[in-house]
Symmetry: C2
Subunit: 135 residues, 2 copies
């Protein structure tokens, strides 16, 4: 399967390595070339420097033949816009978008984009851990 990942932070870089190790062909996009240093030294996939909300950059990353796209930059808006482009213009089958802001997350969840909100997940996990305590 071909996967395009936007954002080479901790999550993007780890995801790229894990997906490649699972046998997928992975391309990573970041607007900062230094970010690619986070990739494992064994990573064989392509690195594209550019702005992920720019269609020509996404095309260079092979989005037209991608089966999956993950938007994991640190910017919620950038992730949302790039996910919409991947889904609506390039018809990528699986689009996953990280959104930190729970309000924006619930809005875009309704628009057919699979969203992951670390804020909500983290809050729920901590709530559960504390609720289990017996004083």
């Amino acid at each position: 399967m071909k996967v395009v990942i936007l954002g080479c932070g901790r999550v993007g870089a780890t995801l790229a390595t894990q997906l490649e190790q699972a046998g997928h062909t992975v391309t990573v996009i970041d607007n900062n070339t230094e970010a690619f240093q986070r990739l494992s030294s064994e990573f064989q996939g392509e690195r594209i420097t550019g702005n992920g909300v720019d269609e020509s950059v996404l095309r260079r990353a092979g989005i037209e033949n991608a089966d999956a796209f993950a938007a994991v930059t640190n910017g919620d808006n950038r992730n949302i816009m790039a996910s919409q482009i991947a889904k609506e213009i390039f018809h990528v089958q699986k689009v996953v978008c990280r959104i930190y802001d729970p309000i924006r997350e619930s809005t875009y969840k309704g628009l057919g984009i699979e969203t992951i909100c670390p804020t909500v997940i983290g809050t729920n996990l901590i709530f559960q851990a504390i609720s289990e305590t017996r004083p």
Copy 2:
């Protein structure tokens, strides 16, 4: 149960409201008074302005009688240090610490502090979502 939360960002503020609604007594600490604006208007708990790695601030927040402590500021080091103080000096029964850096998380997990790493959780969730795709 008495709970002290360090950090009134999105996670801290939501957690405070959820725990209070679940019947717990909650105190929130943040070094920036404006952060308390994130709290729900119904939140009745105490707000303490100060540095959460300062023992006197933790005492003002009632840490000596707390059953649980959650460190959810945006700084990994601050969360780690405050959690260690809560556990080792004040013997709080349940201490939960958010750590963004997976390397630091695995180090401190071994030291008896319950850690939550949104980076690892997010990566795993996106990996699973993409792995389920059938091209």
